[in-house]
């Protein structure tokens, strides 16, 4: 990889002020997204995936206290950018699809208004009739039947799957360099999930940039992504190309995750498995590996010293002493 990555995150830490004290939601995240790749970000809920996405966009909620580290996007440090320059990046070069399409669209505006205003904010200098035409084309492209009529529909008149298609249409209209999809199928039925995944797969052809696909499901990520990043309790524990990660998972947490999802027992039947123990309380600051308390391979030094992220194979990195 001689080329500079599109997005490069180094040592990103984010704290939130809570009633119980400072919650360390991200504890020094390193992450690279290469150009034109689809990167899957996997972890349990509470591992800091959504916070990472919002930090990239500069949309952390007001109770996010200190934000440290660096987020370089094409040689621009996003953390030191003025609010106005950051705004002009959003909706032009970076777009995001949110988790819950039920609440992510404004209930009192039509689909058409949402799409036209995205085009307007992009500042392409065209007029409303062109906007309408492009919005209709895009709705058709994301598989919404009868797009002219849907332009006049309000979000509540659409099903969850249709709303998520509208969100995807909004994102694609911006032709972004980086598209962040934050668990875009979590709030949907299984059948709809499959359709949306298929759509995103298809959309790959239309997005010339990179995609950061956030999910709690390794299976989904393996279908879609070129690279996979595994996060645990605010830290990246393993990063590798998809095939490599599944064939040869190095971090005990990654292995546990794969076991949970595949969950085949000796008789070949499916069995529900879970990782024993609970996710590290973000308010607690403990030395050592964040996963040590739940890790079956943990040895004394795992509780005392945090393992460094190191390369174990080409493009395959892991943060574990035992890997």
């Amino acid at each position: 990889m001689s080329e500079l990555p599109l997005l490069s995150i180094r040592g990103l830490s984010v704290d939130f002020a809570t009633s119980r004290g400072r919650a360390h939601v991200l504890r020094g995240v390193d992450l690279d997204i290469a150009r034109g790749r689809i990167v899957g970000l996997v972890g349990e809920s509470g591992s800091g995936k959504s916070t990472l996405a919002l930090a990239i966009l500069g949309l952390l909620p007001p109770n996010a206290g200190s934000v440290q580290g660096a987020i370089r996007f094409d040689d621009v440090d996003l953390l030191n950018l003025s609010a106005e320059s950051l705004r002009s990046l959003r909706g032009r070069r970076i777009a995001m699809i949110f988790q819950d399409p039920m609440t992510a669209l404004n209930p009192v505006f039509t689909v058409g208004t949402h799409l036209r205003d995205v085009l307007d904010a992009k500042g392409s200098g065209e007029d409303a009739s062109v906007f309408n035409k492009r919005a209709i084309e895009m709705l058709a492209k994301v598989g919404i039947p009868d797009p002219e009529q849907r332009l006049k529909a309000y979000p509540h008149e659409l099903s969850g799957g249709m709303r998520q298609r509208v969100m995807i249409a909004m994102a694609l209209l911006t032709t972004p360099d980086l598209l962040i999809a934050d668990e875009p199928t979590t709030a949907l039925d299984v059948t709809i999930e499959a359709q949306i995944v298929a759509l995103i797969h298809e959309m790959r052809a239309h997005v010339r940039g990179s995609i950061l696909f956030i999910s709690h499901s390794l299976g989904l990520v393996s279908e879609l992504c070129d690279d996979v990043v595994v996060m645990y309790a605010g830290v990246v524990v393993e990063q590798a190309p998809s095939a490599d990660l599944f064939a040869n998972p190095r971090h005990p947490y990654t292995r546990a995750l794969i076991d949970c999802e595949i969950g085949l027992d000796d008789d070949g039947g499916q069995k529900l498995r879970s990782i024993p123990g609970e996710v590290l309380d973000p308010v607690v600051v403990a030395p050592g590996c964040t996963f040590a308390a739940r890790c079956s391979l943990a040895e004394p030094r795992c509780h005392e010293q945090a393992p460094q992220f190191r390369s174990v194979a080409p493009n395959h990195g892991v943060a574990c002493f035992r890997a």
Binding site: L57, L59, R87, S88, L89, R90, G91, R92, A95, M96, F98, D100, T103, A104, L105, N106, P107, V108, F109, D117, V118, A121, K122, Y154, H156, E157, M167, M170, T174
Partner: protein, 329 residues
């Protein structure tokens, strides 16, 4: 029974029924009030200056010799026809007296509520987008203070300052003969007196619902797509945030018809309030009754209009998916 599908027509019909319900209730209540009178109602209600013939005529009008339910029906018939009888003092039909002063009250009330919204909404937006700033704090203290000052106190203070100390504005009366400009100048003080408390109320309401709206996920979506902040606030957030404010519009207009009584009396303006007030002080009940009914009718119409505006802003209400304005109060 066929179930009516939720939708705009069903919503509209249910709001009209509610308005009709208020009016029917009001007429019944006005009727019940006349039943509370001890002694000969015709004599008591017409007051001391009624002649024997007038009393006899009024007793015939009320149908005092009929059973109660027939009297009620008769009363309904009269009210619906707009037949409130003849004023015993001036000898004019009472309906004419009401219609003559109605425009003055409407002008006063609507300009007050309009002013309250024109100033209160931007003030609330400003406070919400600059939370805990100096302006926000000043606005918070000021609005609580202003809400606490009854409109008749504001009226007297304004009268004192502008007409007695500064002698700036000709304030009393409506300036009916002096042309439109004179009429408007004389509207300034009573309108301000009525509006000031509501400005504070509307600003407070707008602020809190704006703060709530700005934390909604769909606002984050707008931000994620790089929409200009002004567009996010004044288009995407305000349309959601103004819903509770719209809900108080109906309530506010209704209360303002009541508060207008004070402004009209203090600034010596003709209007429904003055009509009712004079009616009470001269013990001329039929006039009071007609004035009160007119206000209730206006109130019901204002409520209906609010419900319609509400549905116009929020498509979910049109679809019958969410509660009405009244339920959000």
């Amino acid at each position: 029974m066929t179930r009516v599908e939720p939708g705009p027509w069903r919503y509209f019909a249910s709001r009209v029924v509610t308005a009709a319900f208020i009016v029917v209730g009001a007429i019944t209540l006005l009727f019940v009030l006349t039943q509370l009178v001890r002694g000969n109602p015709a004599e008591v209600l017409l007051g001391p200056r009624a002649t024997a013939e007038a009393v006899a005529e009024f007793a015939r009008r009320m149908g005092l010799d009929l059973p109660v339910h027939e009297r009620l029906l008769r009363f309904f018939g009269q009210v619906i026809r707009g037949d409130f009888g003849v004023d015993i003092i001036s000898g004019r039909p009472i309906l004419d007296m009401v219609l003559e002063v109605l425009p003055f009250t409407l002008a006063l009330t609507f300009s007050a509520i309009g002013l309250a919204f024109l100033i209160g909404v931007p003030l609330g937006c400003f406070a919400a987008t600059h939370p805990n700033g100096v302006g926000d704090r000043i606005a918070a203290v000021l609005s609580v203070g202003l809400i606490s000052m009854p409109s008749f106190v504001v009226s007297i203070y304004l009268l004192l300052v502008f007409s007695i100390w500064l002698q700036w504005l000709p304030v009393l009366g409506t300036g009916g003969s002096g042309g439109i400009l004179d009429q408007l100048t004389r509207l300034v003080l009573p309108t301000s007196a009525l509006a000031i408390g509501w400005i504070g109320y509307v600003a407070r309401l707008t602020r809190s619902s704006m703060v709530e709206t700005l934390a909604e996920p769909y606002i984050r979506t707008s931000r994620a797509y790089g929409l200009p902040e002004s567009k996010i606030i004044y288009k995407y957030a305000l349309k959601n945030a103004c819903l509770p404010t719209l809900a108080v519009l109906g309530l506010g207009t209704g209360r303002l018809f009541g508060e207008a009584v004070f402004a009209e009396v203090i600034f010596a303006r003709p209007g429904l309030g003055t009509l009712i007030y004079t009616g009470i002080s001269t013990r001329n009940y039929p006039v009071v009754q007609a004035g009160v009914f007119a206000i209730v009718l206006l109130y019901a119409m204002a409520n209906l209009a609010t419900d319609m505006a509400y549905a116009w802003v929020d498509p979910r209400i049109r679809a019958g998916l969410r509660g009405t304005a009244a339920e959000r109060r």
